[in-house]
Amino acid sequence: MANFSKSNVPQFSVDVYQNEYLPEGGREVNAIVTVTSTGGGTIGSAVAAPHLYTPGQGPDAAVAIMVDCSGSMDYPPTKMRGARDATAAAIDALRDGVHFAVIGGTHVAKEVYPGDGRLAVADARTRDQAKQALRKLSAGGGTAIGTWLRLADRLLSSADVAIRHGIVLTDGRNEHESPEDLKAALDACAGRFTCDARGVGTDWEVKEVTGIASALLGTADIVADPAGLSADFTQMMETAMGKEVADVALRLWTPVGTAIKFVKQVAPTVEELTDRRTEAGPRAGDYPTGSWGDESRDYHVCVEVPSAGIGQEMLAARVSLVIPQPDGTAQTLGAQGLVRAVWTDDMTASTSINPQVAHYTGQAELAQVIQQGLDARKAGDVDGATAKLGRAVQLASISGNADTAKLLAKVVDVVDAPAGTVRLKAKVEEADEMTLETRSTKTVRVKK
């Protein structure tokens, strides 16, 4: 087994929560896999006070900040100012020794700092120079995010580092390139760096921003008020500085005769991974999870197994964590979990649903019905929207997802939460609707 020479690589652990008992003829095995990485103690302090890092102590990292400089950023002018301040705050959060670059984005991508296709190495002097360079940022031009991402990829790949991360800030629709161009850029960048995406104001397209974050395994959010950008950027950068290992994949081995029905990340957000499988040897496949700091995520794995007789037991899936290498081998991260199937004639055992599986099934449905409800609302289907958002209120209420419940309450008037009875609000702030849509995939964990 391969092992890291560096001391700051986190320890991974895998816990499987499932009801392994199936009735006679039962074929579907559901399990929640909790993956937890625990760092060597460096990360806790890094998040709280990133400047306490001494060069070389944290993992080598490179960060590219992509700031929208399209013409619309000047309406109102607070947007451009907010973006400049936020970028400065993010630069301040850079750990010494981290490679970084600032990109100004319009219908083309421009290097704002340091330029010449290079990355700067963070220290007091370069941080100061970068902030000076931000003053040159001015609004004017269109929006073609694919070009920004491709430039970021070129710059980030010039450094020999473990962690590569990007931050995209946009305020408008990706109007100056085709959706296919953006898709091609995302495909080219996927797996090469991770990227958070933020929409500022309310003139941007939620599905574009969430699509970027999803493809590049980062987070998406709305910053409706430009004044809130600095805090958000600082927090994003601190999270990026906390990452300790990149390109981790969830590897699933399944026996012959089985089929994987789906694999989803279900906490902290719902992220469909089923179609993002890369084959990894006989009956094994890798699902990308991006980079990890000190954190814990949950995955819902559903496997269809061949039916077997009462009293039989089989392994339905073996879950492990690996870092796939370019040569086709993989560095295993030690931890693994077993998803089992046991056929029993004990009805009490086979009919009970594991609480974690039930909870996340509900959370995934919550994200889905919010999306469907908002789509129906936009399409003018009041009945459909009311039904879907009503169900969302019900699910958020049952599962204790208070944040989502609050967002829902800004879009619908809740008559009876447990029953899911709601009325659509006549007037909804655009920011509230976009916030709900952007954050619909956020889940809460099972109450202990």
């Binding site: 026996p255 012959v256 061949p306 039916s307 007789g309 009293g311 037991e313 392994l315 046991v342 056929w343």
Partner: protein
């Protein structure tokens, strides 16, 4: 089908022989419709006829009177199923703590092994452990096939042991995914040099946590206790009683070691049943808690076989209390709920022991309900066990387990076979 002598063959109070149909004792006026009081001396029964036969011809076996005191002049400890608290003689309520030790419904058993042709493994080198299900994949460190994922047989799935005169076989059966039964067999010598053969069989309670660990701990602890006390001259019946106590403590101590599981906070403490037998050249001792049983089958099949234990079960209590007929009681879904067990949450431990002095050679069959579900009556057991059981105990135990598997193998099956009298040490079947 209980082999307890019909409770009304003699007056429970004054021993006066009764005629069937009597409602009151003709001698003392005892009300025979009341719950039969346990015979105050013991349930100890013998089969040798040395003691004057009861005038009743109703019992299939002659049951002589038990000794009142043991070898150390202490009152012989004696327990009967009707000692068990909690069965309301009014018949209305059962003890709250009744556990169901499953008696699954019979249905089709179908092993569906994956087609080996679908395996894409290269032919493994000779000597590699192959999957028993698909015969194509190798077995991983967790005990699963690397091809089809099927769990491989575990050590406890099938166990056999033969030790001189005594042999035991335990099998997972066909419907349960693991074997929660356990046994221990051993032989030792009494202080006078005569041999003593011991068999202990335990059945883990499935509705509790780690039943497999409970049965293993109980069988080992009881066996060790007997191996310790018998050579020191303890009366075998007292030794059996103490062994059950020791087994109970061993199971209780498991409860404290349960790893905390926040996702299943309400699990029961580990629990199991126990039945044990000690055979010496002249005595046969049985002891039990729960619904595992011991049967007596004489070598001469002309003489009647007998069940030597009385279940701690709902059905047995109902019958013993005269509230239901056997047919009614055993047809009830609660029939197999056990009312006595070893484990930290047993409300009160009631070890039952009995001592016999058989007058003819035979074998003792010590078994879990995985066997007796398929040979409930003593006569059925006598039919199933081979005639040469006394000289081929291992073979006989294998045949009995096979009988249970042929019948459907709905539960784990464990059988120990001990010949009586205990043969001199080293003279057992080779």
């Amino acid at each position: 089908m209980s082999q307890m002598p019909p409770a009304l063959s003699k007056c429970p109070s004054c021993e006066e022989p009764l005629e069937s149909g009597d409602r009151f004792c003709g001698a003392c006026g005892y009300d025979l419709s009341a719950v039969p009081a346990p015979p105050h001396d013991s349930p100890t029964m013998t089969m040798n006829g040395a003691v004057p036969r009861p005038t009743s011809a109703g019992g299939p076996v002659d049951w002589p009177v038990a000794p009142e005191v043991d070898s150390s002049d202490m009152p012989a400890p004696v327990h009967v199923p009707t000692d068990i608290q909690g069965t309301d003689s009014g018949g209305s309520e059962l003890p709250a703590e009744v556990r169901f030790d499953g008696h699954p419904e019979p249905d089709e058993y179908a092993l569906q092994a994956p087609d080996p042709r679908t395996a894409d493994f290269a032919t493994p080198s000779a000597g590699t452990k192959l999957c028993v299900a698909c015969r194509a994949g190798q077995v991983d460190r967790d005990g699963y096939c690397e091809n089809c994922g099927h769990a491989q047989p575990r050590e406890r799935d099938h166990m056999e042991q033969e030790l001189g005169a005594v042999a035991a076989v335990s099998d997972r059966g066909l419907r349960h995914h693991r074997n929660e039964d356990a046994f221990a067999v051993s032989s030792t010598a009494l202080p006078d040099g005569s041999p003593a053969v011991v068999a202990v069989v335990c059945d883990g309670v499935s509705s509790a946590t780690r039943p497999d660990e409970a049965s293993l701990a109980a069988s080992r602890a009881a066996n060790e206790a007997l191996l310790d006390s018998l050579p020191r001259g303890a009366h075998p019946q007292q030794a059996m009683h103490d062994a059950i106590i020791a087994a109970s403590q061993a199971v209780n101590s498991l409860a404290g070691t349960t790893p905390p599981d926040e996702h299943a906070p309400h699990q029961n403490a580990p629990a199991c049943t126990l039945v044990g037998a000690v055979v010496t050249p002249s005595l046969l001792i049985v002891g039990w808690v729960g619904d595992s049983r011991a049967y007596w089958v004489p070598v001469d099949r002309g003489s009647p076989a007998a069940r030597l234990t009385e279940d701690d079960s709902w059905a047995a209590q109902m019958v013993a209390a005269g509230l239901m007929s056997e047919a009614e009681a055993y047809a009830d879904e609660r029939a197999h709920a056990i009312t006595g067990w070893l484990g930290a949450d047993a409300y009160e431990l009631e070890p039952h022991t009995a001592s016999f002095k058989p007058d003819r050679p035979g074998v003792v069959v010590v078994c879990t309900d995985g066997l007796w579900n398929y040979a409930e009556a003593a006569e059925e057991m006598a039919e199933v066990i081979p005639p040469d059981a006394a000289v081929r105990p291992l073979h006989s135990a294998q045949v009995l387990v096979g009988h249970a598997l042929d019948g459907g193998g709905h539960d784990n099956v464990t059988v120990a076979v001990l010949p009586f009298p205990a043969p001199p040490q080293g003279a057992g079947s080779a």
